[in-house]
Symmetry: C2
Subunit: 344 residues, 2 copies
């Protein structure tokens, strides 16, 4: 027996299709008694409205798409969750698609989402702006330079600045190196740029060989490799800024393999804070994670655009804080020291 349809409910309640339709929704003038009869019939039959039919008719799918490189990466998993929470509260369902950073998969994802009539898209693109659908798009993490597209990202430059400044001001570090991702997407470009600026502002030299970039996945392995290369230098650095948690983990591994003590021989700080940062050896000094804020914000921006209350799309940054532990050379008490919030 197939799922009951609105016609079945109408039949059961002895009313027309139109009346049944109105009785089941709010804001329509229907006799209380009729409404009760229809609702009873719906309950009795276990009626569930067919969303496909409704969407087709109303031209409103209440579906939004979220496109990310890899949902198994903590950063994306948390951002997606936060965004989904907010969208869910506003009555939208979410179609999530992984692209594995492949341009063809990203393009295919966008086409599929369009075919499913999504009303908006949250996109963490893996490259330059792909062919965008005709609905509102919010780019996050990797900022897209395309007309009409809103942009949200972490305060990449400021964050790296916090890390460098701490090493220099608090620990008098002078030989500070960078282990980052390739300078291709927003975070790769801005974090590297933030590093260069912070180092210059602190009056340090920054020889080219102190700047290392890993693979496009920012893998731990590539962080380890970059770190090993730094340690093999004639004048190796005495402090390393890792541009992500995975890179920091790789760096830690390489430092350990090379017998370098952290922070005594080489200090290490990381852009992202692994949730187990406290339990590493040594506990890792890092920036606070802000995926919840990022996902929330991206979702709000999309919702505003969907409701037409948005204003023109702009760019917003989510601030991050410094979490001081021991890998930088500090020896904080059990209660973690936290520096004040960065201004947005």
């Amino acid at each position: 027996m197939a799922d009951p349809t609105l016609a079945d409910v109408a039949g059961e309640a002895g009313v027309s299709l139109s009346t049944a339709s109105r009785a089941l929704r709010e804001g329509h003038a229907v006799h209380n008694e009729t409404r009760a009869r229809v609702r009873a019939a719906a309950r009795k039959l276990g009626y569930e409205p067919n969303h496909l039919a409704r969407s087709l008719r109303t031209r409103s799918s209440r579906l939004v798409g979220v496109v990310v490189p890899d949902i198994a990466i903590d950063f994306y998993a948390r951002t997606v969750k936060a965004a989904q929470d907010a969208l869910d509260r506003a009555g939208y369902q979410v179609l999530v698609v992984n692209t594995e950073r492949e341009p063809e998969r990203e393009a295919a994802a966008l086409r599929t989402l369009a075919a499913h009539q999504v009303e908006g898209v949250l996109l963490a693109a893996s490259g330059e702006a792909p062919q965008l659908p005709s609905v509102p798009v919010v780019s996050f993490d990797n900022i897209l330079d395309a007309p009409g597209v809103a942009r949200v990202a972490l305060a990449n430059r400021d964050g790296i600045g916090l890390l460098v400044d701490h090493l220099v001001a608090r620990h008098r570090q002078r030989r500070v190196a960078y282990v980052g991702g390739p300078p291709m997407l927003t975070s790769g470009i801005e974090r590297l740029d933030g590093f260069r600026h912070a180092v210059a502002a602190a009056g340090l030299d920054c020889p080219d060989e102190y700047v290392r970039v890993g693979d496009p996945a920012w893998s731990a392995a590539s962080g380890a490799e970059a770190t090993a290369a730094l340690l093999a230098l004639p004048t190796p650095p005495t402090a390393i800024v890792a541009a992500s948690d995975t890179l920091a983990l790789g760096a830690l591994e390489a430092l350990r393999a090379a017998g370098a003590r952290v922070p005594d021989d080489v200090a290490l700080v990381s852009f992202d804070d692994p949730y187990f940062g406290d339990l590493l050896d040594p506990p890792l000094t890092a920036l606070s994670r802000a995926e919840r804020e990022l996902g929330d914000l991206a979702a709000s921006l999309l919702l505003a655009a969907l409701e037409g209350t948005g204003g023109p799309p702009g760019e917003t940054r989510v601030p991050v804080r410094l979490i001081v532990r021991r890998s930088c050379g500090c020896w904080p008490p059990a209660t973690l020291l936290r520096e004040p919030r960065l201004g947005a």
Copy 2:
């Protein structure tokens, strides 16, 4: 200007709606020349078929739902990704929903998915079987005892057995305690049960106070609390089996806070292997993660059911392996020792 419709394409190509429809899909007899003309028109207009309309008409949405407690938890993020990969290859889109372990949200999620006409559901339930949709359902992680529902989970009992046996056989441990989740869902029940059996089979006593369970989220905090309680016992254990990575992290924190050396004072092993297990202090002996296999398997089972090639729904277990590091008391060389695969 609204998105072009099939009627627009037909008009542009000078053919009927039916011919346009057939020309755009495979397996329909259409003149080569007509087909080319229609396709050119579609390309020219940037036509994308409306999936909603197609689904409504063919009564096949090619949509499946995935319901998990929390996509931000690594285990679920990875399982979902693997399942999504497999489903995607088979041409299905995936609607992912978080339930936050709330029964009402789970029930609402299932209703919403039904409204969206999903053709099947992958469900990691947070309790007893909820009201299930009338389409094929595969329960994973938490096995559901409901007619027609396929079941997939890790080899929970065997896995815990591997951990206990290693502590007892290799390290002559006699005072082995358990820090687990509440014995409510499949993994909570089976891991505890596996512990009790393995300990009994090894001929150890297992006083009640050596068995501790944390909160329903298996949080690190509750693992720390349980561990602290164990250490406060008149005769504290000399080895702890943690039933998850989060619990193990909490245990490690509590051990460190209490000044207990690991593994010298207390050995620690964990069911799940955190991906940074190598970098903890000490490196953690744990079971290999098998989310990819689990997600793959769940997806295949669902696909088989969707294609009617499934046979009656049964129960399948995904085996896990022991990864020996140092927290158990071993001192393995740089290359990790791995024990042979568990039989399924």
